[in-house]
Point group: C2
Chain length 253, copies 2
């Protein structure tokens, strides 16, 4: 079966959130990503080169189209198309789980889809299974987000929720961490093995309504600590440094 | 003076490295970035809204064009143009400095311009002043790289150099670090306050010719450490975790 113009149009339409939402699907590209997602999400259809298909003879997908590299590049949103492209079903919306006293992330209006995807990927590395996002955070099913997760989307659960209300509803003894310029040095503060780490918007940081629920204010020191230039950290980078330090302290004390 | 079609065309031509190289210039957009670069690089021309210009009455730039937001969006490469756009001169090529026994980064074929820019930004935060890049690493003057540096380009020096030869030329007592799946836990290894940290290509890691010069093999533990899923870290994220740990140990012992 050749690749129809309608299908190419359909794939490209999934760049827009309203279309993804209406269809309850999302797009993923590339062997590593698609292979990981096939284990986790029902697949509506796959488009792949003969090379990829011959390496995957036992696919549990009813709608598979073999294409040339040229045809694939017409469907792909990537600059460098990579053998296979899949459209997957979004999991049904579930109630946000009760906070289970593990270590979780909360994202307050992270705007950049790539940052969100990178954060999901590093959460997976650091054993964080739940991410609570404010409603204005980038869409987890944005193709740029999906690509940046490199498959971690199959293991990390992302929940959209009114963040201030959610934090307010937590038991008072749950540590809620956030990074601030006037916070305490993260390397010398004892960090708990559970709680919520809140990360803020790329330009504005954590909004006042959310920050009033933060009961542990942290700071990532620059080096040397006394410098006062205008540097700052990308939010995904800051998230990584914070998560790494939580896990380092848990492992090394 | 209105914005000419030729100038818009010129700006867009700077997406390509060959044009940036021929003209020895690069493009930067947005108030924070442009303001930081104005302190460091000669500016060929600026295009800005009346609002931005009225806030900057003492510009030392001879070629300034005031534009409407609409006109700016025609010139801009950004989805959301931000008040000001500048074309700056690339600094003249200088000899790569002798290794000064500070802490430096070396990048082996980092492909993604955004990753390179993010690494330059975090290097600045962690007080790393020199980055040595293999010739196939993304171009530091790619607009996506420049934007991702958020101005750190004004403070961090990036050198392109044959990386294996450079590492070979170092005195034998210089620690050369790299991350590998079979490396030693970074949290329990004593890390020196100087040396070279080598980070590898997004897909392939550090190439064999470079890795043979690495004399300290490190590993960033995932959490829990025993997990064996397919996760990995984005190279900019891994760079951040490594640099943070070097600086933590320097500060906290």
């Amino acid at each position: 079966m050749a690749l129809s113009k309608n299908r190419i149009k359909y794939i490209h339409s999934l760049e827009l959130k309203k279309n993804r939402k209406a269809e309850q699907v999302f797009l993923a590209e590339g062997p590593k990503l698609v292979e990981e997602l096939l284990d986790r999400f029902p697949c509506r259809f796959l488009i792949a080169t003969a090379e990829w298909l011959s390496a995957h003879p036992h696919l549990n997908v009813s709608d598979v189209t073999e294409v040339s590299a040229d045809e694939l590049s017409k469907a792909s949103l990537l600059k460098t198309p990579q053998q296979v492209l899949g459209v997957f079903e979004q999991p049904p919306h579930t109630e946000t789980p009760a906070f289970d006293r593990s270590l979780c992330l909360a994202l307050d209006d992270i705007q950049d889809p790539g940052n969100l995807g990178t954060i999901i990927r590093l959460a997976d590395w650091f054993g964080i299974e739940h991410i609570f996002c404010s409603p204005n955070t980038a869409d987890v099913y944005n193709p740029k987000t999906v690509q940046a997760t490199m498959g971690a989307l199959a293991r990390v659960q992302v929940h959209y929720i009114a963040l201030a209300d959610f934090l307010q509803s937590l038991p008072a003894d749950i540590p809620v961490y956030g990074t601030f310029l006037d916070g305490k040095n993260i390397y010398t503060q004892p960090l708990s093995a559970h709680g919520i780490i809140v990360m803020g918007n790329e330009g504005n940081g954590i909004c006042p309504a959310v920050s009033q629920h933060i009961n542990r204010r942290l700071y990532i020191p620059s080096y040397p600590p006394s410098r006062s230039t205008s540097e700052s950290l990308n939010v995904a980078i800051a998230t990584a440094v914070v998560c790494a330090e939580f896990r380092r302290q848990a492992a090394c004390g």
